[in-house]
């Protein structure tokens, strides 16, 4: 199984639960705050906030809610904001399909996952049937 990039030197910024639509709003606002604190440019702030919003909604809609871990640290020698969304939902059966533009199992538009990937510098996803899904995204300054 694919291993997510991680580093003991990363600094933990926060851990948040997402169990309601309100949580989606407040957590994405926090992400904006962290990105601003890191002195990220306005467009990159918007990119990571929007990508996280997509992941949170998936987590809430398909994964029955979950947790978000926010960290900061060096990735490829660049100051990076790392956001990890973890749920213990049904998992994604066909990752390749889920990552393709326009695929939705529900009534979305199917742009959440592939779009989020385009908005960040690094995108890692790990999913196991009946165990859950973890998505880790990274954006550097």
């Amino acid at each position: 199984m694919l291993q997510l990039t991680s580093d003991n030197n990363w600094k933990k910024l926060g851990e948040h639960h997402v169990n309601s639509e309100h949580d989606i709003v407040s957590v994405r606002q926090l992400i904006r705050y962290y990105a601003k604190e890191m002195n990220m440019g306005i467009i990159d702030q918007t990119r990571i906030t929007t990508a996280v919003s997509e992941l949170l909604r998936n987590m809430y809609n398909y994964g029955g809610g979950g947790e978000v871990h926010v960290e900061t640290g060096l990735v490829d020698e660049k100051q990076t904001l790392i956001v990890t969304c973890i749920d213990e939902g049904p998992g994604i059966e066909d990752l390749e399909l889920a990552m393709s533009d326009g695929y939705t199992s529900g009534k979305g538009m199917g742009y959440g996952l592939p779009g989020a990937k385009r908005l960040v510098d690094r995108f890692e996803i790990k999913s196991e049937r009946n165990k859950g899904t973890t998505v880790r995204i990274m954006k550097w300054k």
Binding site: E21, H22, I43, T49, G115, A116
Partner: protein, 130 residues
Amino acid sequence: MNNEMHEKRIPIIKIGNFLIVSIQVDMHDKLAIQLQSQILEEIEKTGAKGVLIDISVLEMVDSFIGRMLSGMASMAAIMDAAVVIVGMQPAVAITLVELGLEMPGVDTALNMEKGMEMLERRLEEEDYEL
């Protein structure tokens, strides 16, 4: 929770033939859907011919809000009302495009004045054709 949603109700103002909606909060999904129905109901009630949706203070539009806005435009069009999205921030526009939402068929304007002009022009053109 229901109360909270009521508090956040987004006001819709009617000026002349048009409705003006200014979205001032980061909307959660239910609020976005609620706004959609609210606007459609208002179009029916007032017979408005156009809707200006000002999103200049929105710092983020994700696929859900984007879908709500373009859906709004198509639905209003069926009811014979034109929708113009006004004042989108550059960072929001770039992000939407990268996300994959180009919102084809949705009319946009740089500011309220231009949006109003656009709607008026639309009405004039219709009059002219008659």
